[in-house]
């Protein structure tokens, strides 16, 4: 009897601890989901003029990841409001879910299926080949010449907002030393790193002084503790502004800025809410805008397959927030001028090591 009760107790404890673990990622955002969820079907009724069906598959981060999955879903909801297209999502819990989820959407009558994130690249290609009648699109990945005719790649010129925030950092720093924290090294993160470095150099050139950039990688997109440790080291080494392009790692970077009372620069979305006094600005990469734009094209019946769209400042899919309370207004003005010159092509921010070197040569004059 005693043993049974003990077993029961253990069982209950285990299950509650399990649910506690698995519910972790959605805390703090449940209110938002609720409103989103109630909004979606409501707007369905009022604006059901289109029978275009768009669905998206999240990566393992889930739909409330405070990052690109969430942004993509927001983009689809806007699409639903503006065109009445039916939208839905399926969350992937494990990597092995990608292929089955990408395939399942087809049975729900989807015309366009979005894969969010480059980790889905292989799975999406497989799904596209077994479902030739459905259009697929993927964020942050380009298949280059091998793009199948029913697949669309969506890329961002992340070096553009990175250049602007780099310029802002260069203009704002008082110590002459700024930092960069990357996630896992890849072409994608290179855009951020070298765009940022070039921006800092550009500002240094303008001010006629030397500013060094300290760059480090966390080898993770989720380890906030590591981000905090790296940022702490940078701040104590004399950096006063640290930019991150490292997903969840960046939460730690911003926390370190808050504790050291220095500045951090956010990424992807306006991250000022994480530390209103210590986030200088954010390099926006609006996945939702891109998802919406491409979906609209597809809904209109335009041919989107077999190619890669690249979004940048000219499409308003990247940039910096309008409100930056911690920034000197004069710096903001100057940054807007830089933004304009990127838009009209006078400045071409580098996206990797080689183009960065070439960019450096043009500056030294």
């Amino acid at each position: 009897m005693k043993k049974k009760l003990l077993a029961l107790l253990m069982a209950v404890v285990m299950v509650t601890s399990l649910t506690a673990c698995s519910s972790k990622k959605s805390t703090g955002d449940s209110d938002k989901t609720k409103t989103e969820a109630t909004e979606a079907p409501a707007s369905d009724d009022t604006a059901s003029k289109s029978d275009f069906v768009v669905s998206m598959i999240t990566d393992t981060g889930g739909v409330n990841d405070q990052s690109f999955n969430q942004s993509a879903w927001e983009g689809l909801q806007e699409l639903n409001k503006s065109t009445g297209a039916k939208v839905s999502y399926i969350e992937s819990k494990q990597e092995t879910d990608y292929t089955t989820n990408l395939d399942k959407c087809v049975d729900d009558g989807s015309n366009l299926v979005w894969g969010i994130g480059f980790s889905m690249a292989d799975a999406l290609k497989t799904a596209a080949s077994t479902n030739p009648d459905v259009s697929y699109a993927i964020v942050d990945n380009s298949y280059g010449d091998q793009t199948p005719s029913n697949v669309t790649g969506v890329m961002f010129r992340a070096q553009e907002p990175s250049f602007i925030v780099g310029y802002i950092a260069g203009k704002t720093t008082t110590t002459g030393k700024v930092g960069f924290v990357g996630g896992i090294s890849s072409d994608l993160i290179d855009q951020f790193e070298y765009g940022y470095k070039a921006g800092v150099d550009y500002a240094a050139n303008e001010l006629g002084k030397k500013i060094t950039v300290d760059a480090q990688y966390a080898e993770s997109f989720s380890d906030a503790a590591k981000g905090k440790a790296i940022a702490n080291k940078m701040f104590s080494d004399g950096c006063d502004i640290v930019f991150h392009a490292a997903g969840g790692v960046g939460v730690g970077v911003i926390e370190a800025a808050k504790e050291a009372n220095k500045f951090a620069i956010g990424v992807d979305r306006d991250q000022a809410y994480l530390a209103p006094k210590n986030v200088l600005t954010s390099a926006l990469k609006l996945v939702g805008t891109a998802v919406k734009l491409v979906s609209e094209k597809a809904a209109k019946g335009e041919q989107i397959g077999g190619q890669t769209f690249t979004f940048g400042l000219t499409e308003d899919a990247v940039g910096i927030p309008d409100k930056n309370p911690n920034m000197d207004p004069a710096v903001y003005e100057a940054a807007m001028k830089v933004q304009q010159s990127i838009k009209d092509g006078t400045i071409v921010p580098p996206s990797n090591k080689d183009t960065y070197k070439e960019f450096g040569k043009t500056l030294s004059k």
């Binding site: 698995s22 494990q94 292929t99 399942k104």
Partner: protein, 375 residues
Amino acid sequence: MQKIANILKKQITSTIIAIIFGFIVAAIILAATGYSPADAFTAMFEGIFSRPKYISNVIIKSTPIILTGLSVAFAFKTGLFNMGAEGQYIMSSVFATIVGIKLDLPPVLQIPMVILAGVFAGAVYGAVVGYLKARFGIHEVITSIMLNWVALYFSNFIVSLKTFHQPNSTATFTVNESSFTTILHKWKVSPEGIAWLKEHPTIMDVLLKTDVNIGIIVAIIMVIVISILLNRTTKGYELKAVGFNKDAAEFAGINVKKNILHSMIIAGAIAGLAGALSVTGVQPHRISTMAAFENYGFNGLSVALIAANSPIGCLFAGLLFAGLLYGGQSIQSTIGAPSEVINIMIGTIVFFVALTRIVPVLADKLAKRGEKHAH
């Protein structure tokens, strides 16, 4: 009274009651959040049964959790809480991936090598827990939970190494094709294969669109092997005796320490088998940087709970659990309920199943009261 008590005491009755209760509570939650429970459940069951490929997917997804469930259930039968199935699963997938990438033999040799590497890694990882328990008396729940994290970070470390890391991704390279345990994986994408499949749409649906693999057969064999081991062999008797009462077992001349170690090695090996079969059997045939546990081991805990630690039960509980996970996804896309509601639903069902242990206790009381009245 006695009759009702007897029926209630049957494990299967209480499990079914629990599942029904789980659905009722889930229905209430759905209704409270403004979604029709009937629609939701229809969507879910359609998402499981309406097409052959869905059934195939449920079976594929159930394979690893049947095995991790079996691992937990086996350990429990021998008196140990194997909270470390998650870690053993991860270690196994890491070593299976390493061997799968580095070795390229003909499939007949390659597949056993890759799977054995995984099973061995899982067994060794289980053995660490067993040794600490047997030698120093450190509680296995503590050590196995800690080792889960070690496994997670070890896996991330391996992914980050240059030799294994696929550039511009967060994952390793895929294992060599010779290690795939997917059925007819080469033929089904070849021109002849596709031509043949086009004439047989049902088979095409299942074969081409899902990763049909040998995993489930292995899982069924393991379930039978473990049942026989526990119930029909001397070793099984020894293992169970240690679980029932350590002191009595020792008094009867059974080597308690050795049996604890053996039990954890076997449990680790079973969880390891799950990891290796996932790498070889399902896309993407590789491991990736993990932010959090993928829950193969923890879902195994739930499976073992639902199965009341019966090896055969794990088979059905694994299928049920995989069905809930896979079918549950259809609820979002069909009626628009946020996926959190679905998670709550699954959680509720598991919770109620865990509570079924109350039912036999209540039944006991019922029977005792009956006896009292009879006197």
